[in-house]
Amino acid sequence: MKDRMGSWWKRLVASRRGARRPAEKLAMLARMAEQTADQEVGCDEVYELLDQYADLVARGEDPSVLLPAVHHHLMICRDCKEELEALLRVLTAGQP
C-alpha cells in the first residue's frame, strides 16, 4: 500500500521527522514558519475530515489534491499526523 501512496506521502513523512539537536529544532522552527499559510484549518476541522482523508490514502488517491487544507495541516501538526498514521496502520492491515 505504501507504494501507492506516492511522493506526496514521502514529503509528508519527511516534513515531520523528529529532530533532537537544538540546531535541528531551530531548523524545524524555521521550516514551520516557512510552511505557514495565511489561513489554516485547525485540529477540530481536520479531525472531522480525517476518516475521509485516510480512506482516500487507502484507495491510492492523492488527498493533497482533494483535501489540500487538511494535507497542509498534517504537514505541520505532529499530533494530527500521529493520529493519521495510527489510522492508516489499521486500514493497511486489511481490516474492515
Binding site: 535541528e24 531548523a27 477540530d44 501538526c77 496502520r89 486500514l91 481490516q95 474492515p96
Partner: protein
C-alpha cells in the same frame, strides 16, 4: 455468531435499532475496534499480553460510547468503520499521551537548556550568516519582539519541547484547537518578521542545519 458484513447504512440501521440487531452490531464493532487498536498502537505500547488486552478493552468501550453518541454526525463520506477507528484512535492516543507526559510540567520544559537558549535576553546586533551565535541572538530578538508571552511558551513547549498539543493546552487552560490557532498566529508573525528583516528562510535553515 457469524460476523455480518455491513454497509454504512447497515451499520447505522443496526446500531440505531433495538434488540438482537443492535447487540450483534455492537459486538461486531467491538471486535473490529479491538483488532484495529492492536495495529494502531504499534510503536506506542506493547500490543500483546493481558495488559494490552485490558487497555484496548477500555479504549474500545469508551470509543463505542462516543460512536453511539455521535452517530448522527457520521456523514457517510468515509467507510463507517474508518470513522469508528478514527474515534477509537483519538481516545487511545489522548490517554497514552496523557500517561507519557503526566510527570512533565510546562515549567520543566521551559527551564530546559533549549528553551533558555531562546528565552534569554537577546544581545544587540544584526544577523550574520557566518556567525551562528549572532543568528541565535536574532532569533531570540524575533521571539521577544513578535510573540506574546503565551505564544513563546507554546512554541517552546510544543515545537521545541515536543509536548503534545492536548497536553500543552491542558497546562495552559485552553483546548487543542485554540492552541493550534495561537501557534498558527505565532508562526505567521515569525514568518512575516523574518521577511521584513530580509533574511531568507533558506539562510536560516542552512545556518541551523550545518554542523
Amino acid at each position: 455468531m457469524r460476523k455480518v458484513e455491513r454497509s454504512n447504512d447497515g451499520w447505522l440501521q443496526d446500531l440505531q435499532s433495538i434488540g438482537l440487531s443492535r447487540e450483534a452490531a455492537l459486538k461486531d464493532l467491538r471486535i473490529i475496534l479491538l483488532a484495529g487498536l492492536r495495529r494502531a498502537l504499534a510503536g506506542w505500547v506493547k500490543t500483546h499480553g493481558r495488559e494490552f488486552d485490558a487497555l484496548a478493552e477500555d479504549f474500545a468501550q469508551e470509543a463505542l460510547l462516543l460512536i453511539l453518541k455521535n452517530l448522527h454526525s457520521f456523514r457517510g463520506q468515509s467507510r463507517f468503520t474508518t470513522w469508528s477507528h478514527k474515534i477509537s484512535v483519538r481516545v487511545a492516543l489522548t490517554e497514552l499521551r496523557r500517561r507519557r507526559w503526566k510527570d512533565v510540567s510546562l515549567e520543566n520544559l521551559l527551564e530546559s537548556g533549549e528553551a533558555r537558549m531562546l528565552m534569554d535576553s537577546p544581545a544587540q546586533g544584526s544577523p550574520d550568516r557566518a556567525e551562528r551565535p549572532a543568528l541565535l541572538d536574532w532569533v531570540r530578538k524575533l521571539m521577544a519582539e513578535e510573540l506574546t508571552e503565551k505564544q513563546r511558551r507554546a512554541i517552546l513547549a510544543v515545537a521545541l519541547g515536543g509536548m503534545p498539543l492536548e497536553e500543552a493546552a491542558r497546562r495552559m487552560d485552553t483546548n487543542r484547537n485554540a492552541l493550534y490557532k495561537l501557534l498558527h498566529d505565532a508562526r505567521l508573525r515569525l514568518k512575516r518578521r523574518i521577511a521584513r528583516d530580509g533574511v531568507t528562510l533558506e539562510e536560516m535553515m542552512e545556518s541551523f542545519s550545518s554542523g
